[in-house]
Every structure is written in structure tokens, then in C-alpha cells.
């Protein structure tokens, strides 16, 4: 308890110190807020313009989450297919590697071409950004069943489904949740990316407009919001992860639950 508390306190202290340093340096070196606004200025903008920013926050959040959910579905299906079937692995894996090495900025114009600007390309970009880590993690989790255990179960007359249900799936859970944390931040990158290029709504669009108006504090306010949302979702998924798959990460904590 005391150790845990000390750890948390020192982390909070360091984060606070970072912003303090930023503030002090800007003040002492008289940096113009057109270059780098001070944290207090950013906070002020954030609070005074919150009413205007709120609909954009909601927009970004819902496109991100929609894209994320679709990405999880697609990722789980493909990952399971690859993890179970050798043929699927051989055919799909090279395709996926190729696809994942395309810079995603390049696909946004294509989505805009097909669906017009707005929410749809943002959702789709979030999807394509986030499904790949899920595929890889699910496939890895399913493929790492010890051959000895598989032999034991087969000699008991276990079907492929029995093995998948009792061993493959539970073993995949830690991989799956670890990938969710990463995927959700990737989904953010995707939706904001699409908003900056082709949308008149969302935080990405706000930042784009603000930067062309030289409203630098607002640009930074947008960055803050994105960072906060990303952290929030990351923390939420870490929490679920620890609840569900504690056996794989922190053994001591797990028994305490």
C-alpha cells in the first residue's frame, strides 16, 4: 500500500513537474504564444471554448469508437481464421503484411472518393488503422498452444472445437486485451487523420482550422483533448484487461482480487 501510494505520488509529481517546467521556461524565455502557448493558456482556451469544442469531441469519439468496434470485429475474425487454418495463414498473411505497410494517409482520399467527406471515411480510417495489431495478437495467441498439451487432449478424443474452446481461446485473451489497448489509440490516430483531411467536424478539423487561423492555443487545446481521450481509453482497457486476464500479468495482484 505505502509502496503503491509512493509510486503513484511520484508519477503524479513528475507529470505536474513537466507542465510546470514548460510554463516556467515559456515565461522566462518569453516564448510567443504563436509558437508555443503555455499550459495555463491552453487550459484557459480549453475551458472558455469548451462549449464550441464539445460537439467536436463527441464527433471524434463516436467515429473512433465505431471504427474501433468494427476493427475489433474484423481483426478477431481474420486473426481467428489465420490462427486456426494453415491455408488461411499462408494466403492471408502476405496480403495483410502488404496492406499494413501502406501509409494510411494514402487511403483517406480513396475513402473520400467513395463515400464523400464526413464521418464515414473517419470510421473507415480508424478501422484500417486498428485492426492489424488485433489480427496479429489473436493469431499468435491461438498458434502458441503447446504441442504436448494438444497431444494430451487429442488422445482424450478432443475435437478441434474442444481444444479451441478450452485452451486456444483462454490463452488468447491476454494477447487480445493487450492488442485492444494499442488498437484503440491507433483508431484515434486514424479518425483524426481523416478529419484533418476531409471533414468539417471533429477535433482533427478543429485543429486544422485553428492552425490556418494562427489560433495556436486552440491547436494545443485540441492536442490536449486527444491526449486525454487516448489516455482515458487506454486506462479503461487496461482495467478490463487486468480484471479478465490477471493470471497472465500480475500474479500477486490477481490472487488479491
Amino acid at each position: 500500500m505505502t509502496y503503491e501510494l509512493r509510486r503513484r505520488l511520484s508519477a503524479a509529481f513528475l507529470i505536474f513537474g513537466f507542465f510546470l517546467l514548460w510554463e516556467v521556461l515559456c515565461l522566462s524565455m518569453q516564448v510567443s504564444d504563436l509558437v508555443l502557448p503555455r499550459p495555463t493558456q491552453v487550459m484557459e482556451t480549453l475551458i472558455s471554448r469548451f462549449g464550441v469544442l464539445w460537439p467536436h469531441i463527441v464527433q471524434t469519439l463516436w467515429t473512433t469508437m465505431s471504427g474501433f468496434l468494427l476493427g475489433v470485429t474484423v481483426g478477431v475474425l481474420i486473426g481467428a481464421g489465420i490462427g486456426i487454418s494453415r491455408t488461411a495463414y499462408d494466403t492471408l498473411y502476405p496480403l495483410l503484411i502488404g496492406f499494413s505497410s501502406i501509409p494510411k494517409v494514402a487511403v483517406v482520399p480513396i475513402f473520400v472518393l467513395w463515400f464523400g467527406s464526413g464521418s464515414v471515411p473517419a470510421i473507415l480510417t480508424a478501422l484500417v488503422m486498428c485492426f492489424f495489431p488485433i489480427v496479429v495478437n489473436i493469431a499468435t495467441g491461438l498458434a502458441t498452444t503447446e504441442p504436448e498439451l494438444e497431444d494430451v487432449l487429442k488422445s482424450l478424443g478432443a475435437s478441434k472445437l474442444d481444444i479451441l474452446w478450452n485452451v486456444g481461446l483462454p490463452r488468447t485473451m491476454p494477447f487480445f486485451f493487450a492488442s485492444l489497448k494499442i488498437a484503440v489509440t491507433f483508431a484515434f490516430v486514424g479518425s483524426v487523420l481523416s478529419e484533418t483531411v476531409a471533414s468539417n467536424k471533429g477535433i482533427g478539423n478543429v485543429m486544422m482550422t485553428a492552425s490556418s487561423n494562427f489560433d495556436v492555443p486552440l491547436v494545443f487545446a485540441g492536442l490536449f483533448i486527444l491526449a486525454m481521450l487516448g489516455m482515458l481509453l487506454y486506462v479503461a482497457f487496461s482495467f478490463v484487461e487486468r480484471r479478465v486476464t490477471g493470471w497472465a500479468t500480475r500474479r500477486e495482484d490477481f490472487t488479491a482480487i
Binding site: K154, V167, A248
Partner: protein, 274 residues
């Protein structure tokens, strides 16, 4: 000959296994004929890579012979006429389940137990698991997770998992191979008392000659790869056998004889290859 009570549990007739095809084929097992009667405890010893695990996998129906036939419980292995339990050197307990649930896993899979799994997992099956755990001295660890147990304890749990569905044939592949000498000898005792209690047919693969002499009713010695059985002898030391027994003259003599047979079969192959 045709005693009612000695039925054949496992029969390999001219069974051979090779991996790969054509010119790249590797012979893992030469034509082997081996008959194991019900209730026998057969130890299979031989140099590493000679095909011991291959024979075990044939008996377990995990591998089909390239030539010849494998009959288990009177039927081709794939027919699953006999309930089989298996344990390997790696205990492979599932980390997200308690020892109790790990040991219970076969009951979730094997017919007819699986039909009543939901109904009985907290009553009858639980008692059955606990009785087994008591036999191997793990009763206090029923609700522990695998990472809380030592290697020797995990291997005891592994034996329980192999036995919980009351298999008529137990296939063990170097189950004590990764343990230290003291733990290993302790587990020989555990294994012996389990066998004396249930009298299943056992096929034990090992490279430890003392282990074979301590546990088996019969020892088969294999030559180097591609393996074949070069010696097959009964072991009739009285039961229960003790560690002290392993220091007595007749036990040591058996050990030496086995060692000689294995060394000779190895030099033979070297000469053939040269």
C-alpha cells in the same frame, strides 16, 4: 496361451514410421512388433532419437504408421476403443485454472464424463479429483494456481490429470525427465503406488535405466535410430520396490546389462554408417 485374463492392450505389428517423402524420407522407426498385455508396466529405454516417443504416439493414436498396423484395445487405434491417459515431460498445466480444474480437464472432454460435467463438476468430479490429489500428496494445493507449485508438484498434478478419467492405458513420455534426482525418486514411489492401486496398462518412455528397473514389469531396449527393439525382458523384483532395492546386486546387474545393450546397439549403427 489363451488365458482369459491376459488380453492384449497394445499391439504393434510390423509398424514402421518415416517422416517426409521420397529421397528426403527419414526413417524414425524400423518395422517393430511389440505386444503389451493388459496390466503390464512396460518401460521403453534407448538412446535419444531412437523412436521411443514415436512408439508412444503410435499407441496413443496421434500418429499413423507408415507401414504395418497398430491395434489398441482390439481395434485400430483411430477407433479409440480404449480410454487413454497421457503425460509428458512438460506438465502443461493451464495457468488460468486451479490445480483442481486442471486435473478435471479430461472429464470435460472424455465421453461419457463430459455429458454430466456441468452437473457434477462441483460434487462427484470434485471428490474424484480430490481423492487423486490426496494419493499424490497435493490435497492442500487443489485451489492453488500452477505457478504456485514446484516442478515436482506440477508433475504430480500432471499424473493426476492423466489418471482422472480412469484410463485403461497410460502413456508416459519421460514424465520425470526434468526433475532433480531426489524429486524423481520420490515420484517413482508415487507412480508405483498409483499403479499398484489401479493396475492400468502402462507404457513408460524413459532414458533412466534405474527408473525402468524400479517401475516396470518388463523392459524393452531400443537400438539407435532408426530404432528397433533389440531386447525385451521381464523384471520380477517383488513389490513394492524401494530405493534401497536399486543398490542391491541383482538390480545393479540388470542396470549394467541394459547399459551394455544400449551402448552396443549404438556402436553397431556407427559401424554400419561408416
Amino acid at each position: 496361451m489363451h488365458n482369459e485374463r491376459t488380453r492384449v492392450a497394445v499391439e504393434l505389428s510390423q509398424a514402421a514410421v518415416s517422416f517426409g517423402r521420397g529421397s528426403k524420407a527419414i526413417a524414425a522407426l524400423q518395422e517393430t512388433t511389440l505386444r503389451i498385455n493388459e496390466g503390464e508396466f512396460v518401460a521403453l529405454v534407448g538412446p535419444s532419437g531412437c523412436g521411443k516417443s514415436t512408439i508412444l504416439k503410435l499407441a496413443g493414436g496421434l500418429l499413423q504408421p507408415s507401414r504395418g498396423a497398430v491395434i489398441v484395445g482390439g481395434k485400430e487405434v483411430s477407433a479409440k476403443a480404449l480410454r487413454i491417459g497421457m503425460a509428458f515431460q512438460n506438465p502443461t498445466m493451464l495457468p488460468w485454472l486451479t490445480i483442481e480444474r486442471n486435473v478435471m480437464l479430461p472429464l470435460k472432454i472424455v465421453r461419457p464424463f463430459r455429458a454430466d460435467y456441468r452437473l457434477k463438476k462441483n460434487s462427484e468430479y470434485r471428490d474424484r479429483v480430490h481423492a487423486l490429489l490426496r494419493d499424490v500428496g497435493l490435497e492442500r494445493f487443489a485451489n492453488s494456481y500452477p505457478w504456485q507449485l514446484s516442478g515436482g508438484m506440477l508433475q504430480r498434478a500432471n499424473l493426476c490429470r492423466a489418471l482422472v478419467h480412469e484410463p485403461r492405458l497410460l502413456l508416459l513420455d519421460e514424465p520425470f525427465g526434468a526433475l532433480d534426482q531426489f524429486t524423481r525418486e520420490e515420484l517413482w514411489g508415487t507412480m508405483q503406488s498409483l499403479w499398484l492401486k489401479h493396475k492400468q496398462t502402462v507404457l513408460l518412455v524413459t532414458h533412466d535405466l534405474k527408473e525402468a528397473g524400479f517401475l516396470a514389469t518388463r523392459i524393452c531396449v531400443m537400438s539407435a535410430r532408426p530404432g528397433r527393439i533389440v531386447d525385451d525382458r521381464g523384471v520380477d523384483f517383488p513389490r513394492p520396490r524401494t530405493i534401497e532395492k536399486t543398490f542391491e546386486a541383482d538390480f545393479v546387474a540388470l542396470n549394467q546389462r541394459l547399459r551394455e545393450l544400449i551402448t552396443r546397439s549404438r556402436t553397431d549403427t556407427v559401424i554400419e554408417e561408416a
